[in-house]
């Protein structure tokens, strides 16, 4: 009678599965180390949510109370500790995560280190704008992020506004305004100066004030304190 029942009883099936865990190696002072964790979390909140985390306490010597305090602090930050390494078993109370041994180091693959989608990798914006064609009358080029380089001429009635310096390899007949974001070290260079107006960081000069001897020559303009200096190039 008992025979069939014995046959249907099966052993608990155990399956093995391996995960790559993040290993935290706290350093003294613990408060400073927690600040580092906070900075990481500020950059990418939720980064450790749902990921196995192991505490390696080999580098520090903590009392059971201090370990409990550290684990509680991590839990406040939504980091659940899976296990603890590198510590004497006697220091771990039953309310703490279990002691783990036999971990092997491995390289974290980029996919495991993937950044959360809310913070995509920001490519540095190009800090200069290159214009290969002449800038015609009536056109307005505004580039507040950096330098503007024009290979042709800038026509009368055209304007270039740049956060950085302005380089013109043709004739400048229009307006050039450099350093508009308060960059007083920006300069304006041109192959031939016939400008209607030059401005750097809000300080400007009109064509009338331009030295007649400079006209049609290569020149540069820069700020010396609050005065604009315009001198020939070479």
């Amino acid at each position: 009678m008992d025979q069939p029942a014995e046959a249907t009883r099966q052993l608990v099936r155990l399956r093995g599965r391996s995960y790559v865990a993040y290993v935290f190696c706290p350093a003294v002072p613990i408060a400073g180390w927690l600040d580092d964790i906070d900075r990481t979390l500020n950059g990418s909140p939720g980064f450790f949510v749902g990921r196995p985390v192991v505490l390696d306490l080999a580098a520090v010597d903590l009392s059971p109370q201090a370990i409990a305090h550290l684990v509680a602090n991590l839990e406040q930050r939504q980091i659940r500790v899976l296990g603890i390494e590198g510590v004497d078993a006697a220091r771990l109370t039953t309310s703490l995560p279990p002691l783990l041994t036999g971990g092997r180091d491995c390289v974290l693959k980029p996919s495991e280190l993937e950044k959360p989608p809310e913070k995509p990798e920001v490519r540095p914006q190009p800090a200069s704008l290159l214009l290969e064609n002449p800038v015609r009358s009536g056109q307005s080029i505004i580039f507040t992020e950096g330098d503007v380089t024009v290979l042709g001429s800038v026509g009368s009635g055209a304007e270039i506004v740049a956060g950085g310096s302005i380089h013109i390899y043709g004739t400048l007949r229009g307006r050039a305004m450099a350093g508009v974001n308060g960059n007083s070290s920006a300069r304006i260079y041109c192959q031939k100066i016939e400008a209607e107006l030059l401005a750097i960081d809000g300080y400007y000069q009109t064509a009338d004030e331009l030295d007649a001897g400079l006209r049609s020559r290569p020149a540069q303009a820069w700020l010396e304190g609050k005065t604009m200096r315009i001198t020939p190039l070479n």
């Binding site: 002449p134 015609r136 009358s137 056109q139 026509g155 009635g157």
Partner: protein, 271 residues
């Protein structure tokens, strides 16, 4: 392969309409089938310069609005059988033109002609932008004076940004046509010289048309200058410009009034 060419300038009074009529007639005389289209809706002039003002029945706006067929609005020139005119409306304004309507007409004209010459109104508003919208090539008419040159520069900027070609990443082929050029005044420094103009506009030169009474005389009798007096200096300049448009390479000259032999021999009376 039909070519759509816009004659434009930005500034008024520089000779767009005169140049459209003269170039159109010169191309037609070379055997090309040509239509000249007046885009100056509300201020039409091309019909007068072509001498067709008494034969206008339907116009560009009628065709855009579907009131008339294109073939009803086209007027054939009395002197050249392969020269046609599509007149503008005098009673409407430029708002009557639509981008789509102009596109349909230009596509239709492309199928019927070798050259479609669009006479642009002055300014940079709707009329001028629609005249250049579908152009393959552009003739920018410029007088040797600073205001005209600066306006031309502006128009070149628009040709490079507002046309269908520009939006497709291609380029409208651009030519500068300098009109009302007076060599004596330029030599005295009273006018911009050719090199200065070309340096500012950075665009190849199509021709130099000298200032001449012949242009006014031809306009008054309603005849393109290239037909009215083909031997006159402006007519020769326009003929050369038309040949350059057709791809010929001709050395650039500034045609001047021919002085007769007797005048040359007996030019000055001794005191």
């Amino acid at each position: 392969m039909a070519k759509v060419l816009v004659v434009t300038s930005g500034k008024g009074g520089v000779g767009k309409t005169t140049s459209t009529a003269a170039l159109g007639a010169a191309l037609a005389q070379s055997g090309q089938k040509v239509v000249v289209v007046d885009f100056d809706v509300g201020l039409r002039n091309l019909d007068l310069v072509m001498g067709a003002e008494r034969r206008v029945v339907f116009d560009l706006i009628n065709v855009v609005q579907g009131v008339a067929k294109l073939s009803q609005a086209l007027i054939r020139d009395k002197r050249l059988e392969n020269l046609w005119l599509l007149p503008a409306s005098q009673t409407r304004d430029k708002d009557a033109l639509t981008d789509q309507g102009v596109g349909v007409i230009i596509a239709d004209l492309r199928a019927r002609f070798d050259w479609v010459l669009c006479d642009s109104p002055a300014g940079i508003e709707r009329g001028a932008t629609l005249a250049m919208r579908y152009a393959d090539e552009a003739v920018i008419v410029t007088n040797p004076e600073v205001s005209s040159v600066r306006d031309s520069d502006r128009i070149i900027g628009m040709l490079d940004s507002k046309t269908v070609k520009a939006e497709q990443g291609e380029r409208v082929v651009k030519h500068i046509l300098i009109t009302r050029y007076d060599q004596a005044r330029a030599a005295r420094g009273e006018m911009l010289n050719i090199d200065d103009i070309l340096e500012i506009l950075a665009t190849p030169l199509l021709g130099i048309v000298p200032e001449s009474q012949d242009v006014l005389r031809a306009s008054n009798v309603g005849c393109p200058v290239t037909l009215n007096n083909a031997a006159s200096a402006p007519a020769r300049a326009y003929h050369e410009a038309a040949r350059r448009l057709m791809g010929e390479t001709i050395p650039m000259t500034i045609p001047s009034e021919r002085v007769g032999l007797m005048n040359r021999l007996l030019g000055r009376r001794a005191a």
